[in-house]
């Protein structure tokens, strides 16, 4: 049982005739883990929807490693690419940046790139690092001639190095907007772990996770007065961080929300001079019953989204 399914089994109010909705997808061949739960040997996959998601997820992977004084090896297309999540004042020896793209139009060289990575790993091990994180942004490689085949060759080499290791964790990133569906499916199949954002908040009763497409939050568990302030904070950070005026809340996993919570959502929607619009997706029957009872005119700034 993963940390999340164990959490969910404990804390979701399940009504008769209704099964708890899976907030996080798991399949037989892959497991989804928040950044903080990645462990050595994980060769993980991140197909990000936009820069916000990349910064949030890959950035946390890099930052957590550097703050823990682990070695971080970052692979990217060119020197122009910034490494996300680097805290100010990070000592040079912790971070190795490998811009691996050939000149414009050239083929991606999986052998040379993989060797550069394994050389860097060997060097770090020789220096006495106990834990090593590899983060590779590979969208550029896919877009070169024969990109899919060559990138798969690279991935196979990473797969040979990482899973047997008790010291190396790797995250391969692709910009979903620049990949075809078939390419994503083929590449994803080579990864046993899907990396997810760390929850904004998680305790025994409530879990709040950022979503990026659409921008917003996913709530699961139960919300009552004891946790209004954490939701308020999470909402404030999404609204200030993502620059869009429409925030989506995925409520599929939220078994209960109290009237104060509804009040809070209405208040947040109307708080700003330029009011944010809150779209409630996959609203539970409990919340729907309340909203229909009080009437939508009581809830300015809130709309119902996906069912």
């Amino acid at each position: 049982m993963t940390r999340y399914t164990a959490w969910q089994a404990r804390h979701t109010l399940v009504w008769p005739g209704e099964t708890a909705v899976e907030g996080v997808m798991e399949t037989l061949w892959s497991v989804r883990r928040p950044v903080r739960d990645l462990r050595p040997g994980d060769h993980a996959w991140l197909a990000y929807a936009n820069e916000d998601e990349q910064r949030h997820v890959a950035g946390a992977f890099v930052r957590d490693g550097l703050l823990a004084r682990e070695k971080v090896i970052y692979v990217a297309g060119s020197v122009k690419d910034a490494v996300p999540g680097v805290p100010p004042g990070t000592p040079d020896e912790l971070l190795a940046f490998l811009p691996s793209g050939p000149p414009d139009g050239g083929r991606f060289d999986p052998v040379a790139t993989a060797r550069a990575v394994t050389d860097e790993i060997d060097r770090a091990l020789a220096q006495g690092f106990r834990a090593i994180r590899v983060a590779a942004e590979m969208t550029w490689a896919l877009r070169r001639p024969d990109g899919l085949d060559l990138l798969q060759a690279f991935e196979r080499r990473i797969e040979q190095a990482v899973p047997p290791s008790t010291q190396i964790t790797a995250v391969c990133q692709l910009d979903r907007r620049r990949c075809h569906r078939a390419e994503l499916a083929a590449l994803r199949a080579g990864h046993a772990v899907l990396v997810a954002p760390d929850p904004e908040f998680e305790d025994a009763v409530l879990r709040i996770v950022r979503t990026f497409q659409p921008a917003g939050l996913s709530l699961s568990g139960e919300l009552d007065a004891s946790r209004h302030s954490v939701l308020d904070q999470a909402l404030a950070s999404v609204i200030s961080g993502c620059g869009t005026r429409e925030i989506h809340l995925d409520l599929a996993g939220l078994g209960f929300i109290d009237l104060g919570g509804i009040n809070l959502l209405t208040e947040v929607a109307g708080r700003h001079a330029d009011p944010a619009h809150l779209v409630l997706d996959r609203v539970s029957p409990q919340l729907r019953a309340v909203m229909e009872t009080v009437g939508w005119n009581m809830l300015p700034g809130l709309t119902l989204g996906a069912v």
């Binding site: 109010l13 009763v205 209960f256 104060g260 009040n263 208040e267 009872t293 005119n297 300015p300």
Partner: protein
């Protein structure tokens, strides 16, 4: 803009039609939003007679419109809001048969609350009372809840009218607050109400409540308990018991609160307004009773299966 709230006492269909048709037509002439909520066969008679006016009059059957007093108030308020800037002219015939004593009292209170909720709406409401069918005490109550009474020899002046707050207090005094010995009790002692919700959900399902009424009860109980935690004085707790088809939950604390007899009855403007919580609780359950006594504050919620 003031409210005109009249009771119409009628003894037969002829006198019903003679009074209601000119009333509704005067609304059309004044370009008000005109609605007719009436019982059958009066409703069909009105539709027939007013056919030349087409869709200008909205018709509702009282049997459907008067199911839950606080929800009916909400529905009239929605009509008033949606009709703006026009004012509303409403024929509003309540239903008086089929209620328990407790429910009848709440409908009397409802008639009185109309005077407060719509005080500044500019609406005109005419409430027909069938003297041939209704018990004399219902007619007496109509005099207490309508500032003006017409028909059946009445010319309008009504000195039996009672101020809504005072009438509400009278309704409250008539209640009984004994609690059966077989009730179950659960203390409310932490900010986290998860266990309380699970307990109430389980009892609601066991009582045979449908999913939606059960969820609404849990939402209502949570709100009242959260209020007690925020404003009340420990110890706080929940009693729950069955009373025939009713499941009853009572949340009590040791605090001394002096709520107005109108507390939670007046629809707020939005979820942001104070009072949204208690008003919503009243909508979510069949009946909410509030008692502030020497021994504490108690909120009782009834839901029928």
């Amino acid at each position: 803009m003031s409210l005109e709230h009249r009771a119409l006492l009628y003894g037969d269909m002829e006198s019903f039609v003679e009074a209601t048709v000119p009333f509704l037509e005067s609304g059309l002439e004044r370009e008000q939003a005109v609605i007719a909520v009436a019982r059958e066969p009066g409703l069909s008679a009105l539709r027939d007679i007013l056919k030349p006016h087409g869709n200008a009059v909205l018709y509702f059957d009282s049997a459907r419109f008067y199911e839950h007093p606080v929800r009916t108030l909400r529905d009239y308020q929605t009509i008033v809001r949606q009709s703006e800037p026009r004012t509303v002219c409403a024929l509003a015939e309540p239903v008086w048969d089929g209620w328990t004593e407790l429910q009848t009292r709440e409908w009397v209170r409802y008639e009185s609350l109309i005077n407060v909720v719509f005080a500044h709406s500019g609406a005109r409401a005419l409430c027909p009372y069938d003297t041939a069918q209704l018990a004399p005490r219902i007619i007496e109550d109509a005099r207490r809840t309508h500032p003006v009474v017409v028909g059946d020899g009445h010319d309008g002046a009504n000195d039996a009218y009672v101020d809504p707050a005072r009438l509400g207090m009278g309704c409250d005094r008539a209640r009984r607050f004994d609690r059966p010995g077989a009730s179950e009790y659960m203390a409310i002692d932490g900010a986290d109400l998860h266990a309380l919700r699970a307990f109430v959900a389980e009892r609601a399902t066991a009582h045979g409540l449908g999913r939606r009424p059960a969820q609404n009860l849990v939402t209502a109980v949570n709100e009242v308990a959260a209020n007690a935690l925020q404003h009340g004085v420990p110890p706080m707790g929940l009693w729950i018991w069955r009373d025939g088809d009713d499941l009853v939950c009572e949340i009590g604390d040791n605090g001394f609160w002096r709520p107005s007899p109108l507390t939670g009855f007046i629809p707020p403007d939005s979820a942001l307004q104070r009072g949204f919580g208690l008003w919503t609780v009243r909508l979510l359950v069949d009946l909410m009773e509030l008692r502030a006594g020497w021994d504490g504050t108690f909120v009782r919620l009834h839901v029928r299966r």
